[in-house]
């Protein structure tokens, strides 16, 4: 087995230089070294004059001199075919056209050599300026009018260029203007005539941006050609999208001119954020089902309002006033991850270590604990197990930093009653604050409206006063 592998490796290694030599010999012919041998081009390139003949000489022609005796042998072989290009050109037709126009003075060197160069010292493939010099004198190659392009070029679909060669297509100066690429200029041009577009582009290229490509006539008239993807479309977002208020305004813009949005956005672009109730404008967009453009792929990010450090606490008023705005991005179940009783799956609302610092938050509530926690079922239950609830008649001791707390707790109780009742039951307070069974200490303070409360629910009054409820 080893010997077979070794032999295979040696064979490959030996073959590689030979192949390299052959490749080198099929390279460019050194015209300058042969300048004194050939008085005319067509002596070798007969096909340029007669389409029935080969454009390149056969290898045997070289061997008449390079026979190994007179000259060293060469392994040069003519190209199997003319180089792939997207040119609309044939030597014989070109010559005939020139003849019809009385321009017989044009010869091979007019296009294939630099002006004024010595014979066969600067042979080259024609450069575009050679063509433009006759066909559109006074203008640069890439600044020609659209109709001029088709004089010399065929469409991408009709060409035999590889994707690598397509990627080297130079961009006309007009394409560098943002008004052309993103401002709608290219769309207007394509609607007027997309013939010149097809020289470089195909449906696939357009679909990298146009989510609605399947509905745009100018795109549909192009051929489908994956080689067009070798050109990269500019994907910068329109300037309007950079407006800090765009997040808020884009809904109104979409209602006014949804067709514009549909150029780049599919339903899937929008549902990146609009995961709640999907607006009607979104439903009108194309869907990125398999086989159709995905549209601009967006990254879900919070709007500027959510950057407000106080947002977590203060978003209630916004959410209550315009819930439809929230529902554009949030499903109701997302809200209920926090806003449901004793949120089981909610994580991250309270910071790390909150359990140990929660007394400070609970005494003077930055937000209402009772929005998410039933203070009886949640607070009392835990405090009871921790041993901090009153388990019998009130005694001094727990509030030990204030020796006379039991006698002077009124202010603290009115300021933090929600906190008091997380440990104390009503009976603890009625020990003193009851008109019937207690010591008769009046608990009523500022804002107490006896008549109002009695009218609404006398149950509370009965707890302290029994049936003998004062009239005011």
């Amino acid at each position: 087995m080893r010997s077979v592998l070794l032999a295979a490796l040696l064979t490959l290694a030996a073959g590689a230089p030979l192949r390299a030599q052959q490749q080198a010999d099929t390279g460019r012919f050194d015209h300058a070294r042969h300048a004194k041998l050939f008085p005319s081009c067509v002596s070798c390139h007969a096909g340029a004059q007669d389409p029935g003949l080969a454009l390149y000489p056969a290898a045997t022609v070289c061997a008449t001199c390079h026979d190994g005796t007179l000259r060293s042998k060469v392994l040069w072989t003519p190209p199997a075919a003319a180089p792939a290009s997207n040119l609309r050109f044939a030597h014989d037709a070109h010559r005939a056209a020139l003849a019809r126009q009385g321009k017989d003075s044009a010869t091979c060197v007019t296009c294939h050599a630099q002006s004024g160069a010595r014979w066969m010292t600067s042979v080259r493939f024609p450069v575009p300026e050679s063509c433009v010099g006759c066909h559109a004198p006074g203008g640069a190659h890439l600044t020609q009018t659209d109709s001029a392009c088709t004089q010399c070029h065929v469409t991408l679909a009709a060409s035999r260029l590889s994707a690598t060669e397509v990627a080297k297509f130079p961009a006309p100066p007009s394409h560098r203007d943002s008004a052309f690429t993103l401002g709608g200029g290219h769309g207007r041009a394509a609607k007027a005539s997309n013939t010149s577009c097809a020289l470089c582009h195909a449906q696939d290229f357009c679909a990298t941006c146009h989510a609605n490509a399947a509905k745009v006539p100018a795109i549909l008239t192009l051929a489908a050609d994956p080689r067009s993807l070798a050109l990269k479309a500019p994907t910068a977002k329109p300037s309007s999208h950079s407006d800090p208020r765009f997040d808020r305004k884009h809904g109104a813009l979409a209602r006014r001119s949804g067709a514009t949005c549909s150029t780049c956005h599919s339903q899937e672009s929008c549902t990146t954020c609009h995961q709640g109730r999907v607006p009607d404008q979104v439903r009108r967009l194309a869907t990125a089902v398999p086989g159709r453009p995905s549209g601009a792929i967006l990254v879900r990010r919070p709007p500027p309002t959510h950057q407000d450090p106080a947002w977590k606490r203060s978003h209630g008023a916004d959410a209550a006033a315009r819930p439809q705005s929230c529902s554009a991005c949030h499903a109701r179940s997302q809200c209920l991850e926090c806003h449901r009783p004793d949120a089981g799956a909610a994580t991250g609302y309270h910071p790390a270590g909150f359990l140990t610092r929660h007394p400070a938050e609970a005494y003077a509530r930055e937000s209402s604990c009772a929005e998410c926690h039933n203070t009886r079922g949640f607070c009392q239950d835990c405090h009871r197990m921790a041993g901090v609830t009153a388990a019998g008649p009130l005694k001094p001791g727990f509030h030990d930093a204030q020796g006379a707390f039991l006698l002077s707790h009124g202010q603290a109780a009115r300021q933090g009653l929600e906190t008091c009742v997380s440990c104390h039951a009503e009976r603890d307070c009625l020990t003193c604050h009851s008109a019937t069974g207690g010591r008769g200490f009046d608990p009523h303070g500022p804002g107490f409206d006896a008549a109002q409360l009695r009218k609404k629910n006398p149950t509370m009054c009965v707890a302290c006063h029994g049936t003998n409820i004062p009239s005011n």
């Binding site: 916004d318 179940s333 209920l336 089981g344 799956a345 140990t356 007394p359 921790a386 009115r414 509370m460």
Partner: protein, 494 residues
């Protein structure tokens, strides 16, 4: 609810829903499972004869072994000694299901149930006796211009989150700018999945209504180009005596100032039952990237049902002014600050033997730096000091992500927490690590391990330690039918 009743309820619900689910063309189920292990030492009240009390190092009365005692002139003095070790392993599984495509356009079913319990034997966690809870379970019919919702549901308006078993109806105008909603039924306890009659809401065996509450409410909202406004109303009535337990109305609105980055919000509640203005706030938010500034003046007033006696104790509101700034210095670095100062009105009571503060403040600063696309660091400081308690501490975190699949985080912090009513200044340092793994779009696993080290600077023997190691795991699993929307790969014109 006993375990037997819970099992029966689950079986009944499963029997009812199974054929419906089979018929539904689309469905989505989300399972959230969380479990954690906690342990701590609480307090235990104890007493000694007054004659056994000695004078402590500070001159105050203590037990012979150093516990500060409180005596009221009786035969015994009381004190708190460390209680026994409490351990618990609470676990909760939430299942949230939605079904649609039932043959009637606009009809869908929603259900959210919770199964919980203590996986250990300690039971030292709130609510472990509630084995099964139905958080929501309703049928929803949306006809476009109007809709109905029948079953157990939660209203999530500005007046609070209230659950009820009943019917809600919604109507919208053609432009969908105006929406009106009314609802009513049997109410559940505030922020609870059970009625106020449930024993789960009466851990101290205190006053409790004997009948459920009747719940009615409604809301109207208008959304305009320059702003939005909403009005809400709710009423909870004692079903036995028809006394009103809660009756409140609220209004919320926002306005966008044309050609500026300024937005205003306002929110006010009035307690019709107590005849008092409830919580309100007025805020302004200026959004001009890279800076966001907001300021609010507000009042916070607690809410108590009138079936309890607490409203008669005249709980005070507080007024506050707060502000917040977020500044994205460079795209990867942001700084956030917020602060608030609040104060209470006069309490109308003399406390000559004690001195309490009637104002407080809180503030925090945080810096977040996206070191690379994969590494995020953040650090912050927060402090609050006010009546009853305070806290001050630092915290930081380092998070590393590998794409969108794995997130590893290390975090730590320190905290001092003075308590005004107890000489109990505790210092806490904690550090830990967490991991988040997204196995795919639908399955997510998480784990967190924390170690807390506490130094309770208490001048007597009751300076017990809350040192503890906390461990939690979680899993979120979303099950969907093929009708649900899934992320699509980029596609091309064929």
């Amino acid at each position: 609810m006993t375990a037997a009743r819970a099992r029966s309820a689950i079986l009944c619900a499963a029997a009812l829903l199974a054929p419906v689910a089979a018929a539904a063309q689309g469905w989505r189920v989300r399972l959230d499972a969380n479990a954690q292990s906690v342990s701590y030492r609480g307090w235990q009240m104890d007493s000694i004869p007054s004659g056994s009390v000695v004078s402590g190092p500070g001159g105050g009365p203590t037990t012979p072994d150093g516990y500060a005692v409180a005596c009221d002139g009786g035969a015994y003095c009381v004190f708190f000694r460390p209680g026994g070790r409490q351990a618990s392993t609470p676990g909760v599984v939430d299942a949230d299901a939605t079904m649609w495509g039932l043959g009637v356009a606009g009809l869908s079913l929603h259900g959210h149930a919770r199964v919980g319990g203590d996986l250990g034997s300690g039971g030292a966690w709130p609510g472990p006796d509630r084995t099964f809870e139905l958080v929501e379970g309703y049928a929803d019919y949306d006809h476009g211009g109007w809709g109905l919702r029948l079953g157990r549901q939660i209203t999530d308006g500005r007046l609070g989150r209230y659950g009820f078993d009943g019917l809600a109806a919604t109507a919208r105008d053609r432009s969908r700018r105006l929406t009106a909603e009314v609802y009513g039924g049997w109410g559940l306890g505030r922020a609870a999945n059970v009625p106020v009659t449930s024993g789960a809401l009466d851990p101290l065996n205190d006053f409790q209504p004997s009948r459920s509450q009747l719940f009615v409410g409604g809301a109207a909202r208008y959304s305009g180009t320059a702003g939005d406004i909403a009005a809400e109303y709710l009423r909870l009535t004692d079903a036995l005596h028809y006394g009103i337990d809660q009756e409140r109305v609220g209004m919320s609105g926002d306005a966008r100032i044309p050609r500026t980055s300024l937005a205003l919000t306002a929110d006010v509640q009035y307690d019709l039952a107590a005849g008092l203005w409830g919580s309100w706030d007025l805020g302004a938010r200026w959004l001009a990237r890279p800076v966001t500034v907001s300021a609010t003046v507000r009042q916070y007033r607690p809410i108590f049902d009138l079936w309890s006696i607490w409203q008669a104790f005249s709980p005070l509101p507080y007024h506050a002014v707060d502000g917040a700034v977020s500044w994205t210095v460079v795209p990867r670095l942001s700084i956030q600050w917020q602060g608030e100062r609040y104060w209470y009105p006069p309490a109308g009571v003399n406390t000559p033997l004690t001195s309490f503060t009637d104002h407080g403040w809180r503030s925090s600063v945080a810096v977040s730096w996206l070191a690379s696309d994969r590494v995020t660091t953040s650090a912050g400081w927060n402090a609050e000091l006010g009546p009853g308690a305070g806290s001050q501490g630092w915290n930081g975190a380092l998070t590393w992500r590998t794409g969108s699949r794995i997130s590893l985080s290390a975090h730590g912090g320190t905290l001092d927490r003075p308590l005004e009513y107890r000489y109990d200044v505790a210092s806490l340092a904690w550090y830990g690590a967490s991991a988040d793994l997204r196995l795919n779009e639908r399955l997510r696993l998480g784990a967190n391990l924390d170690r807390w080290n506490e130094d309770r600077s208490r001048p007597d023997a009751a300076g017990i330690s809350w040192d503890q190691t906390r461990f939690s795991v979680s899993a979120n699993w979303i099950l969907v039918s093929d009708a649900d929307r899934l992320p699509l790969p980029p596609a091309r014109v064929p």
